[in-house]
């Protein structure tokens, strides 16, 4: 079985995996990072979004072996010393989550959006979220939260 190694949330991580092991399986089952969720089997729902080398990626579309040598950030690595990232804080302030299952993917996706576009319009936010499905919130407060986070991050 191949050995994979990468940096996850700033720490070195390695393990022996089957070739077919997906990145999300490596994160959840080998590293115990269960904050990244699996909501589908066709790369539609976006619950598994993480950052690979700073870009949002659906971790169910990537084999663990493809991530060798990369810097991976999961939802567990976003807050610093117990202080929420502005996007996490905005989701709480604006009730951008209900059951919480899609939330890690939503947050990781939104952080990437704001890294590329510091002032997205509402249509731009909605379009960006096309790859993240939520069944609870109707997206209303998710969009508000991302807009508020953008304002907060501009400071």
């Amino acid at each position: 079985m191949p050995t994979v190694s990468m940096t996850v949330n700033g720490q070195p991580a390695a393990g022996e995996v089957e070739g077919r092991t997906l990145l999300v399986e490596f994160l959840r089952e080998h590293l115990g990072l269960t904050g990244t969720h699996v909501g589908c089997d066709t790369s539609q729902c976006g619950a598994c979004v993480v950052h690979v080398d700073g870009k949002s990626v659906k971790s169910c579309t990537l084999l663990a072996v493809q991530a060798v040598g990369t810097e991976v950030t999961t939802i567990e690595g976003l807050a610093t010393n117990g202080t929420l990232h502005p996007v996490q804080a905005a989701f709480k302030e604006h009730h951008g989550l209900q059951c919480g299952f899609c939330t890690p993917g939503m947050v990781m996706s939104a952080v990437d959006l704001l890294s590329q576009n510091a002032s997205p319009s509402e249509p731009e936010i909605r379009e960006w979220l096309e790859g993240n499905i939520c069944r609870c919130t109707g997206y209303h407060n998710i969009v508000k939260a991302i807009d508020a986070a953008a304002q907060a991050m501009k400071g």
Binding site: E18, T34, G39, T42, C99, C102, I133, C136, G138
Partner: protein, 791 residues
């Protein structure tokens, strides 16, 4: 966003206590849990919609690498384990109970839908279990499938179940047929409609999952599962499925990623996973793949209805006649008979004074997945019938849609109002809801907006829905009278800790609704404890004394009622302790906001001081009072609650492409007392998305062979963020008169009122009646056929 300020009681938009763990990836959903030594399960699902099983050969699979064992129906039958049950006996027109075929825990001699579980493979790894499942040889003898209800009901149709002639589950009626027939004889105008309520697939984003665990030393079975009602699951597993007595069974529903009804039921895969864990003596874990969720989660809706409304010449409703075929799929489940009968028929009068109503419903078994209660359960279907019919009547009679409704509203001074459909509405102010909705949408300005759209080549439409529902399930005596098998109270246990903080154990289950925050607000309001000092515990039968779970918008009205009652018991016990400590008579002790005082003096004791005295009873009336500050209450409501609302949708249609753009969605709701405005608005937003999804995008499609064509998120159109505008919601806060918090419930409201408002808007825009979902293709074809007819 309302400001929470420093107030953490009822009515404040307190930010959610549960959010931190979800936002940092520390939530614990079932698939996040692992038990030492666990094996992994995979279910072999039927590829056929209808087939005889002539034999199953599992030998090769059992020899495959890593396989622990493979089980089929025969193994379960040998241990006396049976399958899903129906929880509600519906009495038919002829006085007989509905037909409820026995269901095994795995398919035995036949399969009745694609996805039916046939065998379980348990292996060291999931990949090994999946590989081995391909080695199972099932000798199927395929037979023609019965997918459409009319085919299943046709004379001479084959039977899904030997003991269900004609595939008819029940033939049921509600209302007064003779009075309704008489009303139609007097009619000036009769509006007729034939409509289909499209079948939906739930798609909670967390797939269902289960872990079975057996402790042989304690002879204790534990099921970790994605359930909305763990105590109900335990009751059902013990009483009906032969898995052991309740005291030897623990059900844990940890964080659950959305339910919407689909996680009420005890499914075959959960039963079998738990049984296999005991059989094998090691934990067994199973998680559904999304494609399996599509096939096996209980679906929703799927009604065909003919309805007629009789009106006099000024538009007064005289009578309503409704005839519905409802698909129950391959077999019954817990609420599959209650949903298309009582949860549907009881709401057919809507918000109107229609004096005579008669409804009849036939439910039909077909070779499709089971259909059961889903996100509104029967009430979206009733609202759809009534509000399409009313809208069409307005158009046919040339009366403004709002004016026609207003003429027929039950007046606010007529409550309590006995509906001709069994239920007694407790409260409501329908004209006020409509007035406010018309203001917010700017109804008067619509024609100018329509004109502006026309100038851009677009067709603009507006749609209205004035809806009422019955929720807060439910008064147990009424449920029992109507055939329900359980009580529908809720329980709460408030434990003060000696240092003044509180742990609340509730039988409600939160899977997104925010109970950990809202129930803490009730404690804060009535016991003066800040929300951060209240721990809300739910979802574990070993920890929470009892519960009936969360569905039917019952957590606020019923679960919250139990919390309130337990809080009052705490206050009364505390009063006696305070009287002792303050050396006053109990009658002289006043209580407010967490502080006891002797009337007319400045002598006080805080609740924290009372709690400490209760657990450190050095100075305590032990001769008349037990130590401790720990009270349990059960609350069983006197009636259902009746939220209502007025919803407007506004759309623009591109006639060249048929694409519908949602421009506005306004909901004015009466959900009773609003305990947390932020959370209530969030619940309504989610309901709107579901309703618009049903109206415009979502459709479960089986082909004629019973293959699910919409079996993935690539084929079934789940609403995305860019399908919607921001929503506009307001609540009117008219308290429910018969529960202590005045709460009516808000979990289902949005999904009940919005589909028909949206469809009415599309039909208003294009001028042609079409069914949901109003996809671009359907809209475009409707416009083309209209244009051809005009030529």
């Amino acid at each position: 966003m309302p400001d929470s300020g420093t107030n953490t009681g009822i009515g404040a938009s307190v930010r959610r206590k549960e959010d931190f763990r979800f936002l940092t990836g520390k939530g614990k959903y079932t698939d996040d849990l692992n038990r030492p030594g666990q094996a992994h399960a995979y279910f072999l699902l039927s590829p056929h919609a209808r087939a005889k099983i002539n034999g199953i050969d599992t030998n090769a699979a059992k020899q495959a690498p890593g396989v622990v064992d493979v089980f089929t129906a025969a193994d379960l039958a040998a241990d006396g384990v049976s399958g899903p049950i129906c929880g509600w006996v519906v009495t038919q027109k002829n006085g007989e109970p509905h037909k409820s075929p026995a269901v095994s825990a795995l398919a035995s001699d036949r399969v009745n839908y694609v996805g039916e579980q046939v065998a379980i493979v348990v292996a060291e790894t999931l990949a090994q279990a999946k590989d081995a499942a391909e080695l199972i040889e099932v000798n199927y003898q395929p037979q023609p499938a019965l997918i459409k209800m009319k085919d299943a009901l046709a004379n001479g149709a084959a039977q899904l179940h030997d003991d269900v002639p004609g595939n008819l589950c029940f033939d049921w009626e509600i209302g007064d047929k003779a009075a309704t027939d008489a009303a139609f004889k007097k009619a000036h105008h009769v509006t007729k409609i034939d409509i289909h309520n499209n079948r939906l697939i739930p798609n909670a984003i967390e797939p269902r999952a289960a872990i079975g665990d057996y402790d042989s030393g304690m002879d204790m079975m534990t099921l970790y599962t994605t359930s909305q009602n763990p105590h109900v699951a335990r009751l059902v597993l013990a009483a009906f499925m032969g898995l052991g007595p309740e005291n030897k069974l623990r059900v844990v529903a940890p964080d659950v990623g959305g339910g919407f009804g689909s996680k009420i039921y005890v499914y075959r895969d959960e039963i079998v996973t738990l049984w296999a864990a005991k059989k094998l003596g090691r934990p067994v874990k199973w998680t559904a793949e999304r494609s399996a969720s599509f096939l096996t989660d209980a679906h929703g809706r799927d009604h065909d209805t003919h309805a007629e409304l009789a009106v006099d010449k000024d538009g007064t409703f005289l009578g309503l006649r409704v005839s519905t075929l409802a698909n129950v799929g391959a077999h019954n489940q817990i609420f599959s008979t209650a949903t298309p009968s009582y949860l549907y028929g009881c709401l057919l009068a809507g918000q109107y004074r229609t004096p005579a109503v008669y409804g009849e419903v036939k439910t039909v078994f077909t070779n499709t997945a089971p259909v059961d209660a889903y996100r509104g359960a029967g009430r979206p279907e009733a609202t759809f019938v009534v509000e399409r019919l009313v809208e069409k009547t307005a158009k046919e009679m040339g009366i403004d849609r709002a004016e026609l409704r207003r003429r027929n509203f039950i007046p606010p001074d007529q409550f309590p109002y006995q509906s001709p459909c069994l239920v007694q509405y407790d409260s409501g102010d329908f004209p006020h809801l409509l007035d406010r909705a018309m203001e917010v949408i700017d109804y008067a300005g619509f024609s100018a907006r329509k004109q502006a759209s026309a100038e851009r080549g677009k067709l603009r439409g507006i749609g209205l829905s004035c809806w009422i529902e019955a929720c807060g399930l439910a008064p147990s005596a009424v449920v029992g009278f109507l055939g329900g098998g359980v009580g529908q109270w809720e329980s709460a246990n408030i434990k003060f800790n000696p240092t003044g903080s509180v742990t609340l154990y509730t039988g409600s289950h939160s899977h997104g609704q925010g109970h950990e925050t809202v129930f803490a607000q009730i404690i804060s309001e009535h016991l003066g404890v800040p929300v951060e000092s209240v721990e809300v515990v739910h979802g574990d039968t070993a920890v929470v004394p009892f519960g009936m779970g969360t569905y039917g918008s019952r957590s606020g009205p019923v679960g919250g009622g139990a919390v309130y009652k337990a809080a009052q018991k705490i206050v009364e016990k505390g009063r006696k302790i305070a009287a002792h400590l303050l050396e006053a008579s109990v009658e002289d002790i006043e209580y407010a906001g967490g502080t006891y005082s002797v009337a007319g003096t400045d002598r006080t004791k805080t609740m924290a001081e009372i709690a400490f005295a209760a657990y450190v009873p050095h100075n305590y009336p032990l001769d008349v009072l037990e130590p401790g500050l720990d009270e349990t209450a059960f609350f069983d409501p006197m009636n259902f609650t009746f939220p209502s609302g007025a919803y407007f949708a506004e759309v623009e249609v591109d006639p060249d492409t048929g694409v519908v753009t949602v421009l506005d969605m306004v909901g004015i709701d009466d959900v009773g007392t609003v305990m947390n405005p932020m959370i209530v608005a969030g619940q309504l937003h989610g309901g709107f998305a579901q309703g618009i999804g049903q109206a415009l995008y979502e459709q479960c499609v089986y082909d004629e062979n019973g293959q699910l064509l919409t079996g993935s998120l690539m084929d079934y159109c789940m609403p995305r963020a860019d399908h919607f505008p921001s929503f506009r919601t307001e609540e009117t806060n008219q308290p429910c008169p018969h529960n202590p918090l005045g709460v009516k419930g808000c979990g289902e409201a949005g999904a009940i009122g919005s589909p028909v408002a949206m469809l009415n808007a599309v039909i208003d825009a294009i001028g042609v009646n079409i069914d949901m979902p109003a996809t671009p293709e359907k809209v475009w074809r409707a416009l083309q056929s209209q244009a051809q007819a005009a030529e």
